[in-house]
């Protein structure tokens, strides 16, 4: 294991930095594959994390896998990959197959969660996961487990009341908690100036008596440094941190959104200069960590992984209706009756496999 000056500057090894790069590259590749599958009519919906991946991998990196907890949000592909999910687990969720780790095909794509990796299942009403992470941190403190809990969300979600209630409580009890706001400047179509009266979400931290840290979300190692400090602080018992990463959103909000309606061509073109993936790649090349040979090898391995994961997800079995009434509760309740039509496969409804009609006219 070697340590370049670049790695040493953040207290990591070259292997760590290559590992981070691989996660970011994998997240981008799986994300791009999702869009292709959507436009090819194979999957009905995509919600994307492109532009967020550098911050996500770097900020999850100092947390300890299978000990600490993350309550992710719908763009958290790189976060989930860093914390133990695989490209295959992301793609089986896109196809909503029975084997989907997050929900067995019950949730829309993007609602990642996985108990084995301490990644909390999330819903669609935004910022609700804030309070789950705070509660996890409360239990960690009461049980003296030494765990840290983090949640991530966009700046749009940061305007929900649950964020205020959670930050206030976490600060009062000095909980081992981190709120990571991935500020990409838009809540679907509404720009940040129409969401916040202050320039930064992190400005609110002083109102809770906790540190508010702002970091360039395209600067992977700056994100790592800031997150490491927040994790150390939480682990020491010094309480929560509000960490705001200024990221970019390279894609539309989702496959059903057309961002050219509210973002100019110039604005979108300028985003390319801030893309964290080529920027981090350049840093690793300059530091001599990423040789041409290693870069090519990672690219080839990622491509194989995504191709195999796509085939796997495409061919995996669908969930069957006879499982649809399971897990309302931990045990079955005979009093809860199935529908009159039982559990047969043919309900007389049109299947929606490959149906992208909702996205018609919304293509960028």
């Amino acid at each position: 294991m070697s340590t370049s000056n670049l790695a040493a500057s953040v207290g990591l090894t070259d292997e760590d930095l290559v590992g981070m790069y691989r996660v970011i590259a994998t997240a981008r590749a799986v994300d791009e594959r999702m869009w292709i599958l959507n436009r090819a009519g194979r999957i009905p919906f995509v919600i994307s994390g492109q532009g967020h991946e550098g911050a996500q991998a770097a900020i999850a990196w100092p947390l300890e896998k299978r000990k600490d907890w993350i309550a992710p949000f719908y763009r958290s592909i790189a976060t989930c990959l860093t914390f133990g999910m695989r490209a295959q687990d992301i793609l089986t969720a896109q196809y909503a197959k029975a084997i989907d780790l997050s929900s067995g095909g019950r949730q829309m794509p993007g609602h990642y969660g996985n108990v084995a990796n301490n990644l909390v299942s999330l819903s669609s009403p935004v910022a609700t996961q804030m309070l789950h992470a705070v509660g996890i941190a409360l239990a960690a403190k009461i049980r003296k487990t030494g765990q840290v809990a983090m949640t991530s969300m966009g700046e749009g979600s940061s305007n929900q009341g649950d964020v205020h209630e959670g930050l206030n409580f976490a600060a009062i009890h000095k909980l081992p908690f981190i709120l990571c706001v991935e500020n990409n400047g838009y809540a679907i179509s509404v720009p940040v100036e129409r969401q916040l009266a202050t320039p930064n979400v992190a400005d609110r931290a002083s109102g809770y008596g906790i540190p508010g840290v702002i970091v360039d979300g395209s600067d992977v190692l700056a994100c790592y440094r800031a997150a490491k400090e927040a994790v150390d602080r939480a682990r020491r018992g010094d309480g929560p941190t509000l960490l705001e990463a200024k990221v970019i959103r390279l894609t539309a909000h989702s496959s059903d959104d057309q961002q050219t309606k509210y973002r100019s061509a110039e604005e979108l073109a300028a985003l390319q200069d801030k893309d964290p993936l080529p920027r981090f790649r350049g840093e690793l090349r300059d530091a001599g960590i990423l040789t041409e040979e290693l870069e090519a090898r990672i690219a080839a391995e990622v491509k194989v992984e995504i191709d195999e994961a796509t085939d796997f997800a495409e061919n995996a079995p669908e969930p069957t209706p006879d499982t649809a009434m399971k897990w309302v509760f931990a045990e079955d309740w005979p009093g809860e009756t199935p529908p009159a039509w039982g559990f047969g496969g043919d309900h007389g409804l049109e299947g929606h496999a490959g149906d992208t009609s909702a996205a018609e006219g919304a293509v960028d």
Partner: protein, 327 residues
């Protein structure tokens, strides 16, 4: 056996469970040194300390949301919502999150959490300290809803609720806290969730009720018994999962069914009971499936004349029984 008030049974059960199980914590508004506004948690702060009996800020969504998180990380929280009327800011956490967590994660995560809240009118509580909120939550698959009517059932059902691996809403009629007394065994016992009780056997009319109305139904049954009407009272105890068998077999025996609830009549919890009886016991019915329930106004008025008008009472129930008996 010892005679205890309804609230004593609840308080002593929490204390006993917390002594036995370190994973059980309590959180809510004023539950600490004050012991809760009704004193349901009186003394627990002194016994278990501030780590396990947590005074929260006035943040109901936080109380429920943090309980969900704590439940996912090894604890069994008992969350107290000070009045059921104040549970609405936490509706999203209960309905979108707690109820759906197990289903949406395909059994990955569960939420072993008990939410206690005093509900109900007749105590000069007006619009915002009198509400019956059970219908909102009993509607949602994934939530269990319990409303006990006796100290015995309260203790036994509360133990079952805390042990349950899924979220349980435990509503306590506040008028019963000190007015209802009953025998409670000293030893630990469980009353299972999802089991109704026949509290007054009879042959001609089934009256289905829960909470304070289960008491009023018994009083009404005694009144009409003197007129020769034999009433069977079913105390549901758990609203969901519903003990359909006990309900249906009673109605199939008596042929008549009156459902009593304190909440507004329209789409109240009892409306579902009426539907089930109409659908599944139609062949046995000798009269209309009927209801005695609260008037459809947005709340219980404060003025005592208006409050008395609002509240269902034994006389109103007895009138309903007589009308149904005439068929």
């Amino acid at each position: 056996m010892a005679l205890k008030t309804f609230i004593e049974a609840i308080r002593e059960t929490m204390s006993e469970v917390m002594r036995r199980d370190e994973a059980v914590i309590l959180l809510g508004e004023d539950v600490g040194l004050k012991g809760g506004v009704f004193l349901a948690t009186d003394g627990l702060f002194g016994e278990f300390g501030e780590d396990r009996v947590i005074d929260t800020p006035l943040s109901e969504s936080l109380i429920i949301g943090a309980s969900i998180g704590a439940a996912m990380n090894g604890l069994r929280p008992i969350a107290e919502i000070q009045f059921a009327d104040f549970i609405h800011p936490a509706f999203n956490q209960l309905v979108s999150e707690a109820a759906r967590m197990r289903y949406r994660s395909n059994n990955g995560f569960g939420v072993p959490m008990t939410v206690r809240a005093p509900y109900g009118g007749g105590v000069h509580g007006a619009l915002y300290h009198s509400q019956s909120v059970e219908a909102f939550f009993a509607h949602v698959p994934g939530l269990k809803v319990v409303i006990p009517s006796t100290p015995y059932d309260a203790a036994g059902l509360l133990r079952s609720a805390i042990r349950d691996d899924d979220p349980v809403l435990f509503f306590e009629h506040k008028k019963m806290y000190r007015s209802v007394r009953g025998d409670v065994p000293a030893q630990e016992y469980l009353v299972p969730l999802g089991k109704a009780a026949i509290t007054h056997p009879g042959t001609q009319i089934t009256v289905i009720a829960y909470g304070l109305m289960a008491h009023y139904a018994l009083e009404a049954a005694d009144v009409v018994a003197e007129e020769g009407i034999s009433v069977e009272v079913v105390d549901l105890r758990t609203l969901r999962p519903l003990d359909k068998e006990t309900v249906l077999s009673s109605v199939r025996k008596t042929g008549k069914c009156l459902v009593v609830y304190e909440d507004n009549k329209f789409l109240g919890y009892g409306a579902e009971i009426c539907s089930i009886v109409a659908e599944e016991a139609f062949d046995y019915l000798d009269g209309p499936v009927s209801r005695i329930a609260g008037p459809d106004v947005p709340g219980v008025p404060y003025n005592h004349v208006l409050e008395d008008w609002f509240m269902v009472n034994p006389e109103k129930i007895a009138d309903g029984i007589r009308k149904l008996a005439a068929y």
